[in-house]
């Protein structure tokens, strides 16, 4: 839907994806793949935060648990993409369903803390279930991903796979946001009482949003272990959830594609600035605070107002909190 109507944009995206695949080296391609995978998870969080106003501090749970599910399944069944990806999405959805059921009646700070607690519980389970998850050491020695006869273990195919996932997920998220369900989600953020009076069931809307976000995060999580052929408990830890929110805010809440900018900005700072100074966290903090102070709509919002008229006339609904 995003691309079908905009041949120019489609061309641009295709070129943008193809360029690194042709030129970048092994490390950069893997790095880009990681940015895209994490960015996809952050984008799914944007559905909750930017559209539903549901600030979840436990989004690493569907992402990380899906990563574990995919890794564990691949150990015995091989890294078949057609198995791993649906399994990850299903795990993400299942985790999100549990979380969604728990947070149905809560909101605001309570929701934040409840999702934090759930995320911490998920981490405790992963950390302690050593026989299955490898505990603190994580799981390594995973088989490479494969699709039919092709093995997808080199950096280039991983990158293209991640790009494909990011594109598909963005398209899905956009169609979700534009559909009646997505609009209802905005509705319960803006005026929950009015939505109830209109006959909308707030729990059902929230639950559906959780499921959609969980499925996307899960699909992203399913690919994550195969970038490094490793998965560890850090991918479930609540600090990753917090980092996702930081990425989202830097990139731009409510824009969907800003999530990728945020994940790219954060990971680049983390990877490159930290080579030059120990104070890289100070740097991240400053960037983050300045974003909040000066660019409340994030990089995406900043770009959009720079380009001005270009974005005008677009669907006015995909605007953030």
């Amino acid at each position: 839907m995003l691309l079908a109507h905009r041949p120019a944009a489609a061309g641009l995206v295709a070129v943008a994806i193809a360029l690194p695949a042709l030129w970048a080296g092994e490390f950069h391609l893997r790095f880009l793949a990681e940015i895209l995978i994490i960015g996809t998870a952050v984008m799914s969080l944007d559905l909750l935060v930017g559209f539903g106003g549901l600030v979840s501090l436990g989004h690493a749970a569907p992402f990380g648990l899906a990563a574990y599910a995919a890794a564990i399944a691949s150990q015995s069944l091989g890294g078949n993409l057609l198995l791993v990806l649906p399994l990850g999405a299903a795990t993400g959805m299942a985790v999100a369903a549990v979380m969604g059921a728990v947070i149905l009646r809560t909101s605001h700070l309570f929701l934040l803390i409840l999702t934090l607690l759930l995320g911490k519980i998920a981490w405790e389970i992963v950390f302690h279930w050593r026989e299955v998850t490898g505990g603190a050491d994580g799981l390594r020695g995973l088989p490479p991903l494969s699709l039919g006869p092709w093995e997808l273990s080199d950096a280039r195919s991983l990158y293209l796979l991640a790009a494909g996932l990011a594109l598909a997920a963005t398209t899905a998220a956009r169609s979700f946001a534009a559909a009646p369900l997505g609009r209802a989600l905005i509705g319960i953020r803006e005026q929950p009482l009015r939505m109830t009076a209109l006959g909308y069931s707030i729990p059902r809307i929230r639950f559906s949003a959780m499921l959609a976000a969980g499925a996307i995060a899960g699909a992203a999580g399913a690919l994550y272990p195969f970038v490094n052929l490793y998965v560890g408990p850090q991918s479930v830890h609540w600090t990753l959830s917090a980092t996702m929110i930081v990425m989202l805010v830097i990139g731009g809440v409510g824009s969907l594609w800003g999530a990728f900018l945020g994940s790219a900005a954060y990971l680049t700072v983390q990877t490159y600035v930290s080579s030059y100074t120990d104070r890289w966290q100070l740097f991240v903090g400053l960037v983050f605070v300045l974003t909040v102070l000066l660019l409340p709509a994030g990089i995406a919002g900043g770009l959009r107002s720079l380009v001005g008229g270009w974005a005008h006339g677009r669907n006015g609904n995909d605007r953030g909190a």
């Binding site: 935060v49 106003g53 600030v55 728990v102 009646r105 809560t106 605001h108 700070l109 309570f110 934040l112 803390i113 409840l114 934090l116 607690l117 759930l118 911490k120 519980i121 405790e124 389970i125 302690h128 009482l193 917090a242 929110i245 930081v246 805010v249 104070r279 966290q281 100070l282 991240v284 903090g285 400053l286 983050f288 605070v289 974003t291 909040v292 102070l293 409340p296 909190a321």
Partner: protein
């Protein structure tokens, strides 16, 4: 019997620490509707001040006012910029701003105080131990319980029983009216934030002997304090007391009963509590329509 008693005292001492830290957070939340995730930084600052003060040889008890003053000063500066501009913003924006600041402070403190773990040399007076039915219990923990009790009561008296407290509460409910009476509400809010920061600092000074001081502790403490305040029901005094007791006892007894799954058990209990009481233990009455 003695065993149970000492374990209850253990839980109480941890609860007292949670209470003091949580109160700082809940004061700004209930009175100013402001969420300050940089509160953990005030705590850690207080811890570092105490560590250095105890090592300096100056009268030890002055460490607590010093920690209060240091954190309060930091709070006063932050209040001027950028907190002041965010009182009327949404919770989400407050959370983002203050979380970002806490990341900055964490790294600044790592820079200033180093990455190593510091632990204060407690003054002689607090090093003793009392035997309760033949089981040792550190005097220092009794001191923490007492301090938590005294400071809690003082704070309650200040906010609930003094004119100043009345002004604060009135400023929240009807700012325009209070300003018409010639009171500068901005200064009232500034004072509340300074008080909250100072409380963070003093709880850090008290907690240093128990939790030590090192980079990353700010975040751990913040999460516990947040859970305390939220589990208690946002921002009522009684709620924070209840929250501190619940979290303190849950974390202590889960260690005894389910040692291998202590955290998971404690977190599940708290999540279950929030599930059953979505607005916390002591929920302020609110009208829906």
């Amino acid at each position: 019997m003695g065993y149970a008693l000492v374990q209850i005292l253990n839980a109480l001492s941890f609860s007292a620490l949670l209470l003091l830290t949580g109160l700082g957070l809940s004061v700004v939340l209930s009175l100013m509707n402001f969420i300050n995730l940089a509160h953990g930084s005030f705590y850690l600052l207080g811890s570092y001040v105490a560590v250095y003060w105890f090592a300096s040889g100056a009268p030890w008890w002055l460490a607590f006012p010093m920690a209060f003053a240091a954190a309060a000063l930091a709070g006063a500066l932050l209040e001027r910029f950028p907190f002041r501009g965010f009182y009327a913003r949404t919770h989400l924006m407050q959370v983002l701003l203050t979380y970002g600041l806490s990341v900055i402070f964490a790294d600044l403190m790592r820079w200033g105080f180093g990455a190593q773990i510091l632990s204060p040399e407690l003054p002689e007076a607090l090093q003793g131990v009392v035997f309760l039915l033949d089981i040792p219990f550190p005097l220092y923990r009794l001191f923490i319980i007492a301090a938590g009790l005294v400071l809690g009561v003082l704070l309650w008296l200040l906010l609930d029983r003094t004119l100043w407290g009345a002004v604060v509460r009135a400023s929240v409910s009807d700012r325009g009216m209070v300003e018409a009476l010639g009171i500068d509400t901005r200064r009232v809010f500034a004072a509340v934030l300074v008080l909250s920061a100072g409380l963070g600092g003093i709880s850090g000074a008290l907690g240093a002997g128990m939790l030590a001081a090192y980079p990353g502790l700010d975040e751990e403490v913040l999460v516990l304090a947040l859970i305390t305040v939220v589990a208690g029901g946002l921002g009522t005094f009684r709620g924070t007391v209840a929250g501190a007791l619940v979290v303190g006892f849950a974390l202590t007894f889960s260690k005894l009963w389910f040692p291998e799954f202590a955290n998971a058990a404690a977190f599940s209990a708290m999540a279950a509590l929030l599930l059953l009481r979505p607005n916390g233990l002591v929920a302020p009455r609110q009208r829906q329509v």
